[in-house]
Subunit: 359 residues, 2 copies
């Protein structure tokens, strides 16, 4: 299949991934790491997955501190298309800036925004959904991909599907976006069959996205367009931008205004949110230990879980189930898959103590 | 209290301590480590405990490879009294060699043999028991200290007490030494009140010990006396010595012959056999984590057990009870207190793979 005409991939490469500490650090966040053990980082995997859809039409938006690392990992992407944010402004700032740049560069552009740190093994199903979404977006919809829930997660927001979209097989209207629910509410959602996980994947014409933003945040949209018109104003205008997610700034009010469509999809998607989900992604079972890294460094007696030998040292695990051991040159984590979410407490404590060199 | 006249401390400093891997290595065994966190190694603690009883009358017997480390840790002990074994020959070789040396050096000597890697916090009760034992030994008994069992352990041999020893308050005859029993048998032993743990602490006149050895192993005793008479013959005679414990070579047959006495004692004794017993020794509880080393390197969220931060790296433990984490520069162990015995399986596997640099 050929690339989609005038379709651009926008990759916001941000987020600290504190629940993946000590692998992920503010100085070296999750997207820069090969967490699948296949020789490509999450950022590179995101790029590889999109090449068949966009050829070389990429815009990456990342923190200024990570720009050189991104360029090093993605030599195929032109340096001018790796935008460095002077400070984090959440997804609306990042994706909005890319939209403003593309609005000027390609009047026929449709952009799709895909986070740099997600994993989607089934590339064919993903591509098929994106093709449908791009087609819908050309009719001026803000389109989101809706992930089939695998279990009633309370960690994700949900998309409440509406009626089928006339003229676009495989797409529906969106009634609303709902915030992370309780497990009980999520169970009800999943039972209806009318809810999808919101993975934050949006497809739209840049002008549509920015005009929607302008409807509710006129100054925000104006500042983004001013930066695109004169990149020299980035440092002046960026600090004044609100720190807000695209979901809140645009997607939620646009859904209420009947402007959002969804392409419900069934491909497996994983945001690798913590070591439990990383273990699952790597195929960990209840009876064996999964190793991310050099197997020769790991010795196991009666244990299961995830071991990441990342310092060159031998790691021995004896008699623990569903354990998580992450070994790095300056910090070591020992926890369980069930407690993987609580790793962020360690990071918060280290930050509070001023041990920023470790976080 | 003054030192005991002509009483000599013999410290066999051997044993690999594989269940304390990766802290204890064949290149740096358990007795060279400060496992109590009080600034003195187990060897130094053994020395300190005996100084009030012997003043400077020490003989240490250790592997040739560890002789310089022993001298460094015990600068108070004359180099000539730190004997290096060309090869390990178990406790009979080590203690017998010291006995043969002392037999020539001090005809009135009584020796007490105390392993370099045990912990006895109650020094007063220990001293009192040794004073009684030395007194009994002058009447040509082979005397052993009998440890009051704290629980029905299947990890120790037991001493079966006989009748009180006439003329020696606080001492009894020994009916027999019994090998490590099952927990069930140990429970029966403990219930009778007539059994004590055998901690391998023997007190005797050197000539008595060697003559007893000569009764059952004449060549062995002869070789030890020949080495003492001409230390130049050590390399020639040592390799031919049997590899046998003093318990089997002398104590068991001597007990059968009615030559062994016991001083039943109530001091707390710990052979720090594995990380579970080390955790208990350090006061670990079910609700808190005990740190052996620099507390500043450890971050804990809802965990209990033992953490040994030994590489300078930060160690974070989240949501695990009774866990054991031992961090060293080249190897890391993660296990539980309940599985602490199985650490030796890791060491055996590493040895089998030829990874001797790690063991």
């Amino acid at each position: 299949m050929a690339a989609i005409d005038h379709f651009w991939a926008v990759i916001p490469a941000g987020g600290a991934g504190t629940r993946l500490w000590p692998l992920s650090r503010s100085s070296s966040p999750k997207f820069l790491h090969d967490l699948t053990g296949q020789g490509r980082t999450l950022l590179q995997g995101t790029h590889d997955r999109l090449v068949p859809l966009v050829a070389d039409r990429f815009v990456v938006v990342t923190g200024a501190a990570h720009r050189s690392a991104v360029l090093e990992q993605l030599p195929e992407v032109a340096a001018a298309r790796v935008l460095g944010e002077p400070a984090p402004r959440d997804s609306m700032g990042a994706i909005g800036l890319a939209a403003a740049v593309l609005e000027r560069e390609d009047p026929e552009a449709v952009l799709g925004s895909f986070a740099a740190d997600h994993v989607i093994p089934d590339r064919e199903a993903f591509s098929e959904a994106v093709r449908v979404a791009a087609d819908v977006a050309r009719d001026d919809w803000l389109v989101t991909l809706g992930i089939q829930p695998v279990f009633p997660s309370s960690a994700f927001g949900y998309i409440h599907l509406g009626d089928p979209l006339p003229g676009h097989a495989g797409a529906t209207a969106v009634r609303e976006f709902v915030e992370k629910p309780s497990v009980r509410t999520a169970t009800e959602y999943v039972a209806t069959g009318r809810y999808r996980w919101n993975a934050g994947m949006f497809v739209a014409r840049p002008t549509v996205l920015l005009d929607l933003l302008a409807t509710w945040h006129a100054d925000f949209a104006g500042a983004l367009r001013a930066i695109a018109a004169d990149p020299g104003r980035l440092e002046e205008l960026w600090p004044g931008l609100p720190r807000i997610a695209l979901d809140h700034a645009v997607a939620e009010p646009a859904a209420a205004a009947g402007r959002v469509a969804c392409v419900p999809s069934s491909f497996h998607w994983d945001d690798v949110g913590d070591f439990d989900s990383l273990a699952a992604l790597l195929g960990a079972t209840a009876t064996a230990t999964t190793v991310l890294g050099d197997h020769d460094l790991v010795r196991v007696v009666d244990a299961s879980g995830l071991v990441v030998p990342g310092s060159g040292r031998t790691v021995a695990v004896v008699g623990l189930d569903d354990v998580v051991v992450v070994d790095t040159p300056d910090a070591l984590l020992v926890t369980t898959r069930a407690r993987a979410q609580d790793v962020k407490q360690v990071v918060e404590a280290l930050k509070a103590e001023g041990r920023s060199e470790l976080t």
